[in-house]
Structures are given as C-alpha cells and as structure tokens.
C-alpha cells in the first residue's frame, strides 16, 4: 500500500495522464460540476451572451405584454382613424411615429404599431415555447424508450417516427383546421378565440414536431448505453428506473436543452407562417405572423411599417439560433474532459 500511496503523490502533482488541461487550469476548475463548467465556457462566448440577452429581453417582453395591455399602457386594438390620411396611410414619416405611438400606427386602421408587435410576441412565443417543450417531451420519451429497450420496441417506435415524419403535416393542418379547432373547443370547453386557436396550433406543431427529437435522443441513449458506467450500474444491481433516471437522464439534459432552444426559431417561423395562412391565432389578435401578414400589404406605401415585423421576427429567430448553437458548444460532452 505504501508504494502505491507514495507514487500517487507524484501522480497528483504531475496531473497524471489527464489529457489536455494544464495543471494550473486543473486547479482552477476544481470542484466544478460539468454544468458549472459549461456556464463558465458560455460566459466567455460573446455572440452567445448577446443572443442570450436578446432572448431574455424577448421573453420578458412577452410576459409583460398582457399585463401592460390590461393596464392600458399598450393598446393593440383601438382604431385611430384620425391619424390616417385620405388613403388611410399614417400621416407624417416613419408610419406617423410620435410620443404616443413610438413606432407609428398601422396603415388602414391606425392601431398602435408598437402595441401590436409587442403583444404579438406573446402569442407567438407562447405557442412556439409550448410546442417546443411538448415536442421535446414526446420525442424524449419515445427516443429514450426506443434507445433503451432496443429490439422490436425500438423497431416499432422507429417506424412510427419515420411514418410521422413522412406525413404531410402542413397540408393536414390546413385541411383539418376547422375540424381540429372544433375538437379543441369541445375538449377544453373554450370559446372560439385566440386561446383555442393557439392551442390547436400548438398541438399540431407538437404532434408533428417531435420526430427529430426522438431520433436525436434515441441516438444519444444508444451511445450512452455503450458507455461503461451504465454497465457498471447494471453490475452493481441498479434497477431499470434507477438506470434510466439516475444514469442516463442526467446526461440527456444538455442535449435536450439544446434541442428546445434550436426548435424555438423553427417553431416561431412555423407559427408565423401558419398565422399568415390563417390557421393559427386569427386577427384581430396580433401574432408575429398576423402583423407580418398585415405589413406585406403596405410594402410600397409605408416601408417603415413593412420592415418592422420582418426585422423583429428575424432578430428573434436569429437570437434563438445563436443561443442554441452556443449552448451546444458549451455543453458538448467532449468539452467536459
């Protein structure tokens, strides 16, 4: 024992056979969990930090909007015909921007532009976020079960995933929208309104959107399963649930987080497209898709109003994308060692 104990000191000093990290660095990261390490890496990554800030701002804005509407600070619904000229174009440049209407008013109706954009974020973000979480939950459950059970369970679930993926989802969504909406109303008891419409859109996005997650998670589980710590747990006599929840799941949080973040921009765009096609939340309730649809009519006469929703959507989508990429790099398990 003494021999191994003495040489062990040398091992400690030299940092043993740990690959790249220098001894000094090893000291600095002592006692840090893999999550903390990822956070440290994230903090050094400027573009990701900027996109994270934007995302936080967008989320805060989305949460505040309904409150501000209730308090009367934002008013996305009242018509202000008095601010429009004979051709129903806002008077003055910049869509008629003023102290009362910082981003001007909407051509045709005179509704406050900022209120409509801002309040629009709330619906779109809620739909995208809920759909993304639902997709990831469904996908994770399918992927974990498929990856872990293997055999015929895996075969059936994988076929099912492929089948779902090959479904013409947009077409279905359009064709079945009135039927689906009625179904949602029946199940939830909600009146036909933005809430029921939003739920329909969310559910449909989730039902068709979980496949990519299922595939990624299945692959991850297969690769984690190969790692010897799972076998070690089996040899120790760990139960199946213990292996699922204590050994495998903790290694899936990081990829799942990245998946949700990367799914957000796709769903925000998808929701915008669906609103534009009148299958999501319908006007007069603003969503990013609805305000975009409204703006397209005024491309020539009111360029400022035309560009604003496009820029807003682009900013949100790009920020989520950058954040997802940054998270993926920071959480990359290869970076753990």
């Amino acid at each position: 024992m003494s021999e191994s104990a003495t040489v062990f000191e040398g091992e400690e000093l030299s940092g043993g056979s740990t690959p790249p990290s220098a001894p000094g660095e090893a000291k600095a990261i002592a006692g840090k969990s893999p999550m903390k390490l990822a956070m440290m890496r994230l903090r050094k990554d400027k573009p990701t930090m900027v996109s994270l800030t934007v995302v936080i701002l967008v989320v805060v804005a989305a949460v505040l909007a309904p409150l501000l509407v209730k308090m009367g600070v934002l008013d996305p619904f009242s018509y202000n015909q008095n601010l429009l000229d004979a051709n129903t174009i806002p008077e003055g440049g910049w869509s008629g921007a003023s102290g009362a209407h910082p981003l001007g008013v909407e051509p045709g109706t005179g509704r406050d532009a900022m209120s409509r954009f801002w309040y629009g974020i709330t619906f779109s973000l809620m739909i995208a976020l809920t759909a993304a979480m639902l997709s990831v939950i469904i996908g994770a459950v399918v992927g974990i079960i498929a990856g872990f059970s293997g055999g015929w369970v895996d075969a059936i679930l994988s076929r099912f995933t492929d089948l779902t993926l090959s479904f013409p989802s947009t077409l279905m969504l359009l064709a079945l929208s009135s039927l689906g909406l009625k179904l949602v109303q029946q199940v939830t008891g909600l009146p036909n309104g933005p809430l029921a419409q939003g739920i329909y859109c969310t559910v449909v996005l989730a039902i068709f959107g979980w496949t990519s997650t299922a595939r990624v998670v299945r692959g991850q589980v297969l690769s984690i399963k190969q790692r010897e710590f799972v076998e070690a747990a089996v040899v120790l006599g760990a139960s199946k649930p213990r292996i699922y929840f204590k050994e495998i799941l903790p290694n899936l949080w990081a990829p799942l987080l990245v998946l949700v973040t990367l799914m957000m921009p796709a769903y925000i765009s998808a929701e915008a497209a669906l609103s534009y096609l009148q299958v999501s939340v319908k006007p007069p309730t603003p969503t990013l898709g609805n305000v975009l649809a409204d703006s397209l009519k005024y491309a020539q006469v009111d360029p400022f109003y035309f560009f604003m929703p496009a820029i807003l959507i682009a900013t949100i989508v790009i920020s989520f994308n950058l954040l997802g990429d940054g998270l993926r790099d920071a959480l990359d398990p290869k970076g753990d060692r």
């Binding site: 024992m1 040489v7 062990f8 091992e11 043993g16 056979s17 006692g31 010897e228 290694n251 753990d336």
Partner: protein, 395 residues
C-alpha cells in the same frame, strides 16, 4: 498395449484451495442481423465458444489474448452483463448462468467488475461520492447518514484524498479515475472481481501503481480475481494461473511456471516472445521473437479444425480437419494443440490423433479406439496425459 492406453492412476491429494468460480463450457454467440425491415438472423458471432476454467479463492486467474478473442465477453458473462448462450457459471456452487434479474440481485454484491476505460466507466454527471456510494444505496447496506463515512474510508483505501468526494470524475487523472472505479467495485466487499484490462487505458508509468494497489487489496480483503489482459507481461506477477484465449477458445491454461517456462502451444509461445524477459536477459539468453502474421480471423466464420491454423507456423493437415481438444499434459497445465511441445520441440506426429480415433491426417481411423480425453471441463484432473511417454501420468 497401445501407447494411447490411459492407465487409471491413483489420485493425488485433492486441490487444497476452495473454488469460488467454476465456468463450464461457456458459450456466447451473438446473432448477426441482416438489414431490411424483417431483421433476420443471418449468422452468429461466436465470441466465446466453449470455455471452462476455475478461479480459486483468494487467487487470480489471468485471461490473456489478442483483441477480439472474447476476453471481455467472457468477463461480461461472469458478471452476468450477458446471458450466456450455453454453459454453466458456478459461483460458490450455484449455477448463475440462467438467473433472472431478480435472482441475480443478491449475487451482484459478490461479483464486481473493474472496467477498462475509466473515462467512460464513471458517470460524468455524478460526484465521486455518489459514484462510490451508489452501491450502498442500491443494496441498502448502511444507513443513509453513514454512506459518506464509508465513501471516505474507501477513498482512503484506494489512495485518494477522502476530502475529494465532492468532485467530479473529470477533475481526476486517468490513474485516479481508475482508483475511483476500483473503490466503487470494492464498496460491496465482493468475493470475486472481474478486472477487464484495468490498466490498458493508463500511462505505462501508472500501470504498475494500479496493479500494486489491486495486489494489496487482494491480500487485504481476500478477493479472487478474473484478470483480463491482452499481453502476458501484465498478468505475470499478479496471476498464479493463466488462461490463453484465441478466437473464443482457451488454447492453453496452466500455472505460472507451465505457461511462462514451458508453454506448449504455438500461440502462447508467440505471445511470450513479445514479453521482455528480465530473467532471460540476465543470463544472457534471448527469446526469439515470433511474429504473428495476419489478423485474428472473424469469429463469424472461424477456420475449420484448429482456429489458430491460419497463423500457425507448424500447422499440418490434421489441423484443418480436426479441432484439437484441450488436453491436460501436466499437473496444472492444459493445451489445445495436435502438436504440443516446447518451442522447437513440437512432436512430428499429432499426439491427439490416437485419442480422437483419427489417423495423422485427421481422417477417421477404423482401427483406433477413441479414448476419453483428459482435460475437458474446468479445473484439473489428478491424472493427465504424459507427453514424454505418451501415457497417463500423475504427480
């Protein structure tokens, strides 16, 4: 009296040591699935194809062979990570080969495993304390508030700082991580440890320390080892008995002296020629380097007859026709070769042919009377086949 007659000699004193593990005719055939929607089984990887051996209490059996010859698969069957296709795994007299998950649970405490790669055998999301403490929680061995005490004790036993229980695996070096893996295996105070190449992933400078640690632990806790390695140098000092595997079969097994000083199988001799031999160097001798040509053939389609024949320098006709049985040729020495002999002293005629009832080319010999081949099965018989006078010998 023909020279193949096997005399029934008086039995020698029975083995003095108690057997912990006795493995009999163990086989693992992995199905190979075809592609396509209905994934039919199109063949089998015969990763392990009938091995038998024993591990005595408090000692170590070394399992040696090139990559892909089925060592890990054997170890994984013993720890019951795999359910054997066929065969028996007698652990302390009970056959656990077909035990279900529930029946296995109490056995898990007795048989533990040390893995090859400490960078994947420790969950990166768990602290060292929770890794080493997990077995205690799974088997509810100690009250919850005592787990930490035991964890710190174990850390100290394997030569790590007991205050580091809060750290994560990535904060340790390779050698230290392997010590964590060893501590985890020790937690349940097992009787048998399967060590699957426990030092192969480590720096050469650290290998000796980890082996020393294992040796100390073996003495201290009276643990039996199935020690897997891919060369004969590493197991030399650790294992009093060594089994050499090739393509799913044991080709030679024996005590340290039989294997290192009197190897009779050409494959063992080739492996040995790669071992730097201190003793030989000291007396000015030098082992001739025998190069093994080519790769290990695929275990899906192993060569007919002797699996080693495609790479064997002394192979003859019979080798491709008849599989050589594992023949006991000494008190503690068995070899599976038609021409067993020390290097450059292999016999001209297949010694096994008369035993098997075939002629020297492997064709059935109507005149011969096949005899029972001493050596099949785990452990050693009291009598054996004496190569010197082609008759039954004994101690």
């Amino acid at each position: 009296m023909s020279d193949t007659t096997i005399a029934t000699a008086a039995s020698v004193a029975p083995a003095s040591t108690e057997t912990v593990l006795s493995v009999e005719n163990l086989k693992m055939h992995f199905p190979v699935k075809g592609s396509g929607i209905v994934r039919r089984t199109v063949g089998h990887v015969k990763a392990v194809d009938g091995v038998s051996f024993e591990v005595a209490k408090g000692t170590a059996l070394g399992l040696v062979g090139e990559s892909g010859c089925g060592k890990s698969t054997t170890g994984r069957m013993v720890t019951r990570l795999y359910k054997p296709t066929e065969g028996k795994i007698n652990f302390e007299g009970t056959d656990i080969a077909n035990y279900s998950g529930k029946q296995l649970h109490p056995m898990r405490r007795e048989i533990q495993m040390i893995f090859q790669d400490p960078s994947t055998s420790l969950n990166p999301r768990h602290t060292v304390g929770s890794i080493i403490g997990a077995p205690l929680r799974i088997h509810k061995m100690v009250p919850k508030d005592k787990v930490l005490d035991r964890v710190q004790e174990l850390l100290e036993i394997v030569g790590l700082n007991p205050e580091h229980y809060n750290r994560y695996p990535h904060e340790f070096s390779g050698g230290q991580r392997q010590r964590i893996g060893i501590a985890r295996a020790l937690t349940l105070q097992p009787k048998l440890l399967v060590a699957d190449e426990p030092v192969s992933a480590l720096d050469v400078s650290i290998q000796a320390q980890v082996i020393n640690l294992l040796q100390d632990l073996q003495k201290e806790f009276d643990i039996s080892f199935l020690f897997i390695a891919h060369d004969l140098a590493i197991v030399r000092h650790f294992c009093p008995e060594i089994a050499v595997m090739y393509l799913g079969k044991i080709v030679e097994i024996g005590d340290r002296e039989s294997i290192y000083e009197h190897a009779h199988h050409p494959y063992t001799q080739a492996l040995l020629s790669a071992v730097p031999d201190v003793k030989q160097a000291a007396i000015g001798g030098r082992r001739e380097r025998i190069r093994l040509e080519g790769d290990v053939p695929s275990p899906i389609n192993p060569p007919s007859g002797c699996h080693f024949r495609t790479r064997c320098a002394i192979a003859k006709d019979i080798c491709s026709v008849v599989e050589p049985p594992l023949l006991q040729i000494g008190k503690k020495h068995k070899v599976a070769c038609h021409f067993p002999g020390e290097i450059h002293q292999h016999p001209e005629k297949p010694v096994t042919a008369p035993l098997l009832g075939v002629d020297e080319f492997g064709a059935p010999d109507p005149g011969a009377s096949p005899a029972e081949v001493p050596g099949d099965g785990p452990g050693y018989a009291d009598t054996w086949y004496d190569l010197a006078n082609n008759s039954r010998g004994s101690a």
